[in-house]
Amino acid sequence: MALKLADFKEQIHNDWCPGCGDFGILSALQSALAELNLEPHQVAIFSGIGCSGKLPHFVKAYGIHTLHGRPLPYALGAKLANPNLEVIAVSGDGDGLGIGVSHFVHAGRRNVDVTYIVHDNGVYGLTKGQASPTLKLGVKTKAIPEPNINDAVNPIFLALAAGVTFIARGYAYDIKHLKDLLVKAIRHKGFAFIDVLQPCPTYNDVNTKAFYSGEDRLDPLTKKPRPRVYRLEDLGYDPVVRADMTKEQVMAKIYKVIELSLEWGDHIPIGVFYQNETMPTYEQRLEQRLRAYLSNPPANQRLNTPEGFSATDISEILQELSV
């Protein structure tokens, strides 16, 4: 029986502000899970702290609302203990690119098969609108007294540098496109990162829905807004690194990702920037070492004999240490 978005809805009150971009991310995720025919019990969603951190409570799936900045290590631990779980991690931009940014960098170089969504709203929503690490230098949003004195991190460029093997950007109000990205990200074998442009109507009065959809830039002929956000696939861009590519071809791809990651202002690309499945996942690397890791993962090993004693045989190690 095919699952529907509704099967992933947890019926509790949702306390996000009306019009918050988080709603778009939530329904895109629920649709993606349904489309992938996953059952709620197969999915574990880990989040950090912030408005974004509440997301798992609204999804009918295992939902683990963790510490500020730390959803990734919790998620990685769970995934490595049971690689059969479908593990998704969710952060705010303060959560994932501020306090928890080192976990992001290290998740990149490990390539554990986890999907990571960052709600990129330019502000610390839940603490009332301070500048987040993705707010650009000199920008002044509603709740900050002075224009931003820090420059922004570039999540796409950072992901590339960290070795992330699936890098994408979505837009919270383009739900169908975001859903498609999430489906690809979850299917990706390895660590998948999606930076989601998420308007925060309450605190970010600069990167608003009107900004992204270009309501201040009317086409002189049609008088219609010219959106700032555009889809990479509309340019025929191909993000995939394949095993048969030459080193030069791979380098060219990487340079292109860097170039695209630097686009902002009137041209903001969304879509998949980079996808590289030629890199082994952490789970595959473990399987190489531990032999039966995938078929008998840590969480599933039976630890006790029927009589309740330890089933682990350390006699070989004791032999090595005995006198």
């Binding site: 709620p40 574990a44 009918k60 963790t66 730390r70 490595l80 779980l85 330890s310 089933a311």
Partner: protein, 643 residues
Amino acid sequence: MLNNFTYMVGGQQGSGVDTSANIFAKACGLAGLEIYGKREYHSNIKGMHSYFQLKVNSQPVRSLTSKVDLLASFDEETLAVHYDEVSTGGGVIYDPKTLDKKITSIPTLDKIVVNRLIKRLEAQGLNLTIESLIEECRRRGVHTYPLPYDEILTEISKKSEKKFSELARMINVLAVASSLALVELEITYIERAIKNVFRGKAKAVEENIEGAKIAYEYVKNHYSASFPYKLKSQPNGKRLLLTGNEAIALGKLVGGCRFQSYYPITPAADESIFLEARAIFRLNGKDEVGSIVVFQTEDELAALTSATGAGLAGARAATSTSGPGFSVMVEGLGWAGMNEVPVVVTLYQRGGPSTGLPTRHEQGDLRYALHAGHGEFPRIVIASGDIEEAFYDAAQAFNYAEKYQTVVIHLVDKALANSNQTVKLDPSIVRIERGNLLSEEDIVKVKSAGGEYKRFAYTPSGISPRVKLGTKGCVFWNSGDEHDELGHINENPENRVMMMDKRMSKLELADSEIPLGEKIKYFGSEDAKFKVVSWGSTKGAILDAIHHLSEEGIEIGFLQIKMLCPLPSNDISKILEDSKVIDVEMNYSGQLGGLITEKTGIKVSNYIVKYNGRPMFQDEVYQSLKDVVEGTAPKRRVLTLGA
């Protein structure tokens, strides 16, 4: 003196002190003798002074005395630091080419030591050379054995056609072989020990055995009859020669640990490295391959949180660290407590605060382990007193964690981690108790009875049935925010009280269910007027001290506290009331003493504390206890022995 001997070997870090100590210990162990040893080293890779001190006996050994019977030195600093620890009638092995070196020109020798030596030598009318140290030894009745390392190496180089410079690193093997020649242990044990220590490196085995033989012969021909201490092999059963790090790693494996995370730190990291090197094993009989994931994280917060994630997924999970790393983990402790996730933290205490004495011993984190984290949540804190206990406790920690669904902090320390000992362990008696853990089938039953699975269901015992992430037929939520029975955020005041009560009551449950033998151990006569209380690795020195006192007719009891939270206050009260309580601890403030007073109202009469970074010796404990009994002790005595 037969089979009762304290040995010390020292040299620059990186010059193979550990290897020689290992060979010595293995050789004695293989000869059926019993050993206890400790390793002392600087936070440095090459050049600073390090040493190993080992006690050998025909009976099991559990602590060290401050006096050394034979000091084998690779370099002049070892002599300068330790020559005065050698007992009259003991011996010193030294390199004669260092004799005219000045003690004031050893660059790594601490100024405090230099100044002390200057005073001491000048008082004896001796000049400031190494030769004077040797002279002082002779005057004191210490046998002195020049060992011309260069000469012996030249001989080896002739035989092996290897260059002299390539052989220089063999000094450690020469020193240990010479030492064992002095005590006349049969050379076959040295050969077997070398084979064992250099396992898998055939060339090194061959070379080192060759070198050992030459040094052994040299000493036999020149000196051995003169040395009064002898070691003789004895029949004995199979035993293990283990460090504390290894015992804990083994306990974790047997205890079912399947996920161990860590961020490198002394003295904890060796445990994780040991596990990673032995990550595959047999499980449930012959054919099943079990494995443990050892996960090196980017920091300790990731170590604890990833272990917690693994715990949620249903693996027995742990992390190991020492003080600085534990400080980084703290936010994650509260989360695991709040969400009732089983996870074990092995906390190897070392000298604090901050990076403190990174490679030295202390028990300064008791209060911190008990209180780390904001807010209130249940935790179980246990402490092991020796290597054998550390093995069983490391396994048992997972049973506590899963039965009471919370964080277990297993307190050990540097002295325990870096000591080695011959012990007997029996993995077959280790029980696995997974607590209230529901399977898929259990969930089907819950549902067919019209129920709904609620992760934090309010139950009279405080324990709510747990499922692993991924269990079919249900889901749950977790939140570090206060939550309702399903795990959703909830700030309602009634729910808050209900949930706080539920979580905290698990401590009372644990206190009532855990057998007394796992919480405290009492040694000696119940009616002793004086009773020592302590925890952790001071155990061996205390037991030996009270043993010697009892031989002199002085009876002192010893209460070892293993369960520090929940503290078995009533049982402690029963034992300690009406006696004079002597608190013995490796910290400044007597943390356990304070805790006992807080929880029982019982006052400590005397404190014996030590915080110079070096573990307690049995003789200093003996003397301070004796002074207490004789009424000559100050209220608080600070022990200071150890180099």
